[in-house]
């Protein structure tokens, strides 16, 4: 279970933030949603997910509260903070520029 390299880590952060844009979720649900939305391509392991979640919490983009899950179990829910909302907009724009640039390079070479 090694830590993902920084670029993948950056992408994971963005994915988590995007997923949380719509509603608060607990850790497993976030990983599940990413898997669903990406058509099973991106399978996030808990060894990457939870360190990423804790890091985002420490950085202040998301905040955590303990609540009740669907099947009435105690779970830790994450929500975006105000700063987190601003961040996700910035990061999405940044990612779109980056991927467009990469697509250009890949297409022309």
């Amino acid at each position: 279970m090694s830590r993902p390299p920084d670029m993948l880590q950056g992408m994971l952060d963005l994915l988590i933030l995007r997923v949380l844009q719509h509603e608060p979720m607990h850790g497993w649900a976030i990983g599940n949603r990413i898997r669903q939305l990406s058509d099973e391509v991106l399978q996030v392991q808990q060894g990457s997910l939870y360190p990423a979640l804790h890091k985002l919490e420490e950085q202040g983009w998301i905040e955590a509260t303990w609540g009740e899950s669907e099947n009435r179990r105690r779970a830790k829910f994450y929500t975006l903070t105000a700063a987190g909302r601003r961040r996700v907009t910035e990061e999405t724009a940044h990612w779109q520029r980056l991927s467009a640039a990469i697509a250009l390079v890949v297409r022309t070479t």
Partner: protein, 871 residues
């Protein structure tokens, strides 16, 4: 903007550690359960689902570890854990840990104490308003010059005159007290920002000589002598025979550190005859700079005004008068003199600190060797070398902090002793305190030295390959040698510090020895000295003054066991010598050139007999000279050498520049080291009492009586002649001579103590290195002995090691000692870094210590049993 939130988050994570751990474990557990439920929902059986989920999940501990990393508090939790490990390790070897903490406490404690002195004296700003804008001229100015400066100086917003160390009689009805007073112009208090606690300060009217006499009381005097009474303003106090009205009380700090006085008198700058205004009272010039003016501009301004001041004098002053005046920032002018001495002490303390740290670092390294097994096991279980190094560093820092705390306690205990121990002429010592600034300084010292010296063992630990330690019983020879190198380096550093300090002590000892053998020019044995200070009530005119002193002399001379009684207007040594401008026969001075100066002493005829100052030529004074005889003077040999070398001085003449009367030289007396034993004798002339009549005189009584009894008699006699005359500064003359050596003696005492401590630490370090060396070379020594080497040659091996350490220490220490002796030349007398005897003495001391430290290891080496060591 996010930093406060992040910091809060980290702090919270730190403080609620246990609950955070529980939360994390709950969260991961929840994830596992959710994954199992998902697999079950897909159709697997519960057991299969669980098995698959667990397999995918991996080790929860590693995930948890990474989460903890992400939370950003690992550094602190690791540090806490390391500190606890270190505490357990220390308990296994308490003697070693205690020795380390004690040594560190010694080093850090003395560094703290020294730092508090340096802070109080040199660093802390003065307690006045905007103190960095205050300057003082480095020359004395006459009272009449104040108006010139006040009206025409461009660089200053305010100027004032201050005389900080007058002495006055303050008397009510009973025994009058001799107290210290300052004389200040009206602008001084506002200039400094000192506001009277009660009443008011001086006004311009108070500066006039004929206005009603007033006085400002110091806070302590008000409490002590007047019980802090609320109606003190308007009260009358008798100062020097004049009744003065109290117009105010100063706040508790008063004018300290500029003037440590009991009361303040107004300076008379108007309404006096010009001769008095310009000739008899001299003041310091204080100024507050305007906002945009620098000290250099102030100096330029003072020099610009110098010719104007010069021309305002009622008589002709030298053309170059005031051309070299300098405006010095006030703090600098107060402490500039003592800075070299404090820095020398600071260097010594720094060496003690470094030596103590090196010693403890050696101890830590030695302990690390013993714990190698423990570290090797930890490395095998997965701890990285960096992690182990981090652990060692944290343990060492914890040790350093313990030493720092203990050292702080030590400094708290010794700071009062320090105030008494340092010589009294160090200014601002009364503000010495261990406050927040010193605490910050101590923390910095502790952390910096701890990091610097703690990195050494940590770095070694991080670089060593630990696997051999799991296998062999003692370390491989290669690593042992590498470690030895570091330890040897530390020991050499300690010995080099010892060389510097011992060298300093030896040089100071020689200086003191030289100084004590300097003949002061008089015999201080069996002479009691006292200051007699009658004021206007007793000495209303000169006749009455002379009669008073004549009576005192007569009554003292008839006492049993009193051999001689003499009076003079100053002490032969240590008193501030007053310089007088004179004209000398045969040495005409061009108009506008500076006049010759010499120090003057007014004496009674028996003065020379009382202090045994020899008469070298001609005749001494007689009673007739004082009673209206022809004006005569005596000169000292230095005077003759300066002005009439090779000629007979009898019959030559001199006079004060402001008097037309020529005085004839009738005799020559021996030189006296008036400015201190280290300075050459100044050019001096002696006037008989009667031809000049200063009011305050010093009494010298030569007698075989024990001095406390003699002191009582003197007081009794003076009180009997006139009860209102205070007698002060009663002490044996020998005490006055020794006081002039006080500074050097104190410095030597402190330096010797430090030198001894560092020498001891160096000796212990040397012993440790040599002993470790011997024990790690057991096999080699055993082989040598088995092959027939004599015990003596084995001992010589060890001694040679010791000699190498010593030589390296010399190579390192002697240049530093030489450099610091050059910088501190002002503190030495008759010796210097080139003094061969001193260097030899240091060599002898160091070699002796090194040999003593090597003795036991050498003997043990020779006694190694070859059979046992070869097994």
């Amino acid at each position: 903007m996010r930093w406060p939130a992040r910091l809060r988050h980290r702090l919270r994570a730190l403080l609620t550690a246990r609950r955070s751990e529980q939360d994390l474990s709950d969260e991961l557990q929840f994830h596992l359960e959710a994954q199992v439920a998902a697999y079950v929902a897909e159709g697997h059986s519960v057991e299969a689902a669980r098995a698959r989920a667990l397999r995918e999940f991996g080790s929860p501990d590693v995930v948890a570890e990474q989460c903890r990393d992400a939370r950003g508090v690992r550094l602190l939790t690791d540090a806490w854990r390391d500190a606890r490990t270190g505490w357990r390790a220390a308990r296994r070897a308490p003697a070693s840990a205690a020795a380390a903490v004690a040594t560190l406490a010694l080093g850090i404690g003395s560094a703290t104490a020294m730092f508090s002195v340096v802070d109080a004296v040199l660093l802390r700003p003065l307690p006045f308003e905007a103190p960095d804008r205050l300057v003082r001229a480095d020359a004395w100015v006459a009272a009449g010059a104040l108006d010139v400066y006040r009206l025409q100086a461009r660089a200053f917003s305010t100027v004032g005159l201050l005389q900080p160390d007058r002495e006055v009689n303050v008397g009510v009805r009973t025994e009058p007290e001799r107290l210290r007073a300052a004389v200040a112009s009206d602008a001084v208090l506002p200039l400094l920002g000192v506001v009277p606690r009660r009443g008011r300060g001086f006004t311009a009217d108070d500066m006039h000589a004929s206005s009603a006499p007033v006085v400002l009381l110091g806070h302590d005097l008000w409490l002590r002598r007047f019980d802090g009474r609320a109606d003190i303003v308007g009260h009358a106090v008798r100062v020097d025979g004049v009744s003065r009205e109290v117009i105010g009380v100063l706040p508790p700090g008063g004018l300290r550190p500029l003037a440590d006085v009991d009361l303040v008198l107004p300076a008379a700058t108007r309404g006096l005859p010009p001769a008095v205004l310009w000739g008899s009272t001299y003041f310091q010039l204080l100024g507050r700079l305007r906002d945009d003016v620098s000290t250099g501009a102030a100096t330029a301004d003072l020099r610009r005004l110098a010719p104007i001041v010069r021309d305002s004098y009622p008589w002709r002053m030298p053309d170059v008068f005031g051309a070299e005046v300098v405006a010095v920032p006030l703090l600098e002018s107060l402490v500039g003199d003592v800075r070299p001495r404090l820095l020398a002490l600071g260097l010594a303390v720094a060496l003690v600190l470094l030596s103590a740290c090196a010693n403890v670092a050696t101890l830590v390294l030695a302990r690390a060797v013993v714990r190698e097994r423990e570290f090797a096991v930890r490395a095998a279980v997965g701890a990285s070398r960096r992690r182990l190094g981090q652990q060692l560093l944290t343990e060492t820092l914890a040790l350093w902090l313990c030493g720092g705390v203990l050292g702080w306690g030590m400094a708290l205990l010794t700071v009062t002793g320090l105030q008494a121990w340092l010589p009294a002429d160090v200014p601002r010592l009364d503000t010495l305190a261990l406050d927040g600034r010193v605490l910050v300084g101590t923390l910095l010292i502790t952390l910096l030295t701890g990091m610097a010296f703690g990195l050494l063992p940590a770095w070694r630990m991080a670089r060593t390959d630990l696997v051999p330690f799991l296998k062999a019983n003692d370390g491989g020879v290669a690593t042992a040698a590498g470690r030895q190198w570091l330890v040897k380096g530390l020991v050499i550093g300690q010995l080099a510090s010892a060389v510097v300090l011992v060298s300093g002590s030896v040089l100071l000892t020689r200086s003191l020895w030289n100084l004590s053998r300097v003949a002061p020019g008089f015999d201080a044995d069996d002479v009691l000295s006292a200051a007699i200070t009658p004021d206007q009530a007793v000495c209303a005119d000169e006749i009455r003054c002379a009669a008073f002193y004549a009576q005192v002399r007569e009554r003292l001379e008839v006492l049993p066991q009193v051999t001689a009684v003499g009076l003079a207007d100053n002490a032969p040594i240590g008193g501030a010598s007053s310089l007088f401008a004179i004209d000398v026969d045969g040495h005409p001075v061009a108009p506008g050139a500076p006049a010759y100066t010499a120090s003057r002493l007014v004496v009674t005829p028996t003065y020379f007999a009382a202090i045994d100052q020899p008469l070298v030529h001609g005749r001494a004074f007689t009673e007739a000279d004082g009673d209206g005889g022809a004006p005569v003077v005596l000169v000292n040999q230095a005077f003759v050498r300066r002005f009439w070398p090779g000629q007979d001085p009898i019959g030559k003449r001199l006079r004060y520049v402001w008097q037309p009367v020529w005085r004839t030289v009738v005799g020559v007396v021996g030189d006296i080291r008036q400015d201190g034993l280290a300075q050459a004798s100044p050019v001096a002339f002696y006037v008989p009492y009667g031809q000049d009549r200063p009011r305050d005189l010093r009494l010298f009584v030569e007698s075989g009586m024990a001095w406390p009894a003699l002191a009582r008699e003197v007081r009794r006699v003076v009180r009997g002649v006139h009860p209102e005359v205070p007698v002060s500064k009663v002490q044996p003359l020998r005490g006055v001579v020794e006081a002039s050596l006080a500074g050097t003696t104190a410095l030597l005492a402190i330096l010797s103590v430090f030198g001894a401590v560092v020498l001891l630490l160096g000796a212990i370090g040397t012993y440790g290195v040599l002993a470790a060396n011997v024990s790690s070379r057991r096999r080699e020594l055993g082989i040598r002995l088995a092959l027939g080497a004599s015990a003596r040659s084995i001992r010589r091996l060890v001694l040679r090691d010791a000699a190498t350490l010593c030589a390296a220490a010399f190579a390192l220490g002697v240049p530093v000692a030489w450099w610091s002796a050059r910088r501190a030349e002002a503190l030495l007398f008759g010796t210097g870094p080139q003094d061969v005897t001193a260097q030899l003495a240091v060599l002898v001391v160091m070699t002796a210590v090194a040999l003593a430290a090597a003795a036991v290891p050498a003997m043990r080496a020779a006694r190694v049993d070859p059979l046992r060591s070869l097994k």
